[in-house]
Symmetry: C2
Subunit: 355 residues, 2 copies
């Protein structure tokens, strides 16, 4: 108690319960809810004296496929640090500042950034957080269409794929957080857009709510090469790659001259002990195709421009957005697993506190 | 004889023997000399009246790995037309004009372009041929360092890989027609360059004649990932891809942030019924790598600029060049097969006639 008091900010820290989702063990193969655990904890709603930290109350946390990589132990340092067994999971979330030692953040500020899967999180370096400029829209949107996945779609499509009006665009995992935005941005650019998804419900969403020109359920297709030839008799100019595996191999056979493949992710491979091999890479030569990986955090400098443009599209009804909200931290492990079984419909997130 | 006379250009066509190498049958798997055949034929050293064709005497013809693709029957039209059984093989070669109906070409002109594996070839559209501006250099160089493979190296390295001084560059098939030029262009650009090849003799050539910083015999390496980590402790900025397969997978694990992989060819895969799978493509995301295929014929507009620059390097001794010359059309089938067994040392070509 003496130590706790010493860490207080002047008038004594208030200690509150803080439930948190921790990684129970490193994952191999397909993850399960049991690989995570909801545990009790405590938080002090005050920052260490003299620090520029803030304490946030977490409102919404995002479930994103890339988190799977962080659940395994890697020998080589990956592009993101591995989670640590016994420690809280972290990812992008929407938060309210409840204590601040930083001049740019005051109590009550709404922000989004990298936070914990818990009720309250101490953020030592809040400079990486964005303030939420449009709280008139649902705050949860800042885990998706107005947050990391939305910017991912925007950067991958415009900066990496460099689309032209009339381009033939194919999007896999098309009803997901990124795919639904890519497809709609492509339609706004004057492209022809086809999406694939893993259920008829999602396919219907693509064709109605998200206004894709065509969509198909890849689980019902026996020969993906033939399927793509049917939807793209002229070939594919842009393939927005979210899945890898058999779909990528079929796409390579159907790329058009000087096509582009922004590589956003390869969700079909994340739970395999050894990734599937891609056999048709020679098509890169024959069709002069560019395949390029990117990571959205390299492009956070473009966030404010993106945010204003996307807010305008949302308010004008030019972009629709579907999210799948799990209520409460206790639902968080199942929500994360849903990404890999495809149980979610639209962008998966967890409402930690609706307040 | 009446028809032959009618086809003559005024003073009657001279008919001469014309040995030619034809494709005997479509190839599956590893090609053999028996898949080709040297047959007797005849040529008229005159162009059809009123045409703008030329007839050339073939001096040197080039053996290039991409020819393997043309020896099989493809359902989908590939980027180059398939050869036809019973018909002469064609590829780039160095020729002398012996008859011309074209105002830009006169008898005696030295040219290079797409010609037949035979003694004489009728070229209906000679506009695609380049005149040889530097006959003071060995004419055979126009099948290699001053021809298609040289321009391939130049375009792939400068236009596609976009090198910077100090970049770490890895070249596979490094003693071949393209590889030896890429490595030396990289050294001239101030890069650190390592090459792989399939024999100690070739490795020695890389380190001495071609001035690579390091080189290794990939056939002696048990773990290519470990090998590359040894030669590139900081990672690879540019991988000039000539081979595909296991080497590509090892390279992907060792790419540096924002690395580039110009894809020139994948010779290790051309004779496989089904290409090997590449498993480590997720590295494109983690390291934001760009992988881009290209074909030199798209860039022939840059040939004259390239020719002058390369001639200067050759005359100043800044670029060395090693070729492997098979003498006579009867050696041509074996020379082509050598590319796939690795028996050639340096750029493989066939001297049809030294005259």
């Amino acid at each position: 108690m003496a130590a706790a008091a010493a860490a207080g900010a002047g008038d004594g820290p208030e200690e509150v319960p803080n439930r948190r989702v921790v990684l129970k063990r490193y994952v191999t193969g397909f993850p399960s809810e049991d690989d995570m655990e909801l545990v009790a904890g405590a938080a002090r709603l005050a920052v260490p004296p003299g620090s520029q930290a803030v304490v946030v109350k977490n409102l919404y946390v995002s479930c994103d496929p890339y988190m799977r990589n962080r659940m395994s132990k890697h020998e080589d340092p990956s592009y993101v640090p591995d989670f640590v067994p016994g420690e809280v999971l972290v990812n992008f979330g929407v938060c309210k500042v409840v204590a601040s030692g930083h001049p740019d953040f005051k109590i009550g500020d709404l922000v989004w950034g990298m936070t914990g899967w818990e009720e309250y999180t101490l953020i030592p370096n809040p400079e990486s957080f964005f303030k939420i400029n449009h709280p008139e829209l649902p705050l949860s949107y800042y885990t998706g269409v107005l947050g990391m996945p939305g910017l991912t779609a925007y950067i991958g499509f415009f900066n990496v794929a460099k689309p032209k009006k009339g381009d033939y665009v194919f999007v896999s995992a098309a009803s997901g957080a990124v795919g639904q935005i890519v497809g709609q941005l492509a339609k706004l650019t004057g492209c022809y857009v086809v999406g694939s998804a893993g259920s008829d419900e999602k396919v219907n969403l693509l064709k109605t709510k998200f206004r894709f020109d065509e969509a198909f359920n890849y689980k019902k297709e026996k020969d993906l090469n033939a399927t793509l030839k049917r939807y793209f008799p002229e070939g594919i100019d842009i393939y927005f790659e979210n899945v890898g595996g058999a779909m990528l191999d079929a796409v390579l056979l159907n790329m058009r001259l000087r096509g582009r493949i922004p590589v956003c992710g390869m969700i079909s491979q994340y739970n395999k002990e050894q990734p599937e091999g891609t056999r048709n890479l020679f098509c890169l030569v024959a069709k002069r195709v560019r395949m390029e990986g990117f990571i959205v955090t390299d492009h956070f400098g473009e966030y404010r421009k993106f945010e204003e443009e996307m807010v305008r599209y949302l308010k004008e009804g030019k972009i629709n957005y579907v999210e799948d909200v799990a209520d409460g931290l206790e639902k968080a492990p199942a929500a994360l697993i849903a990404l890999f079984t495809g149980a979610n419909v639209g962008k998966q997130l967890v409402a930690v506190s609706r307040e």
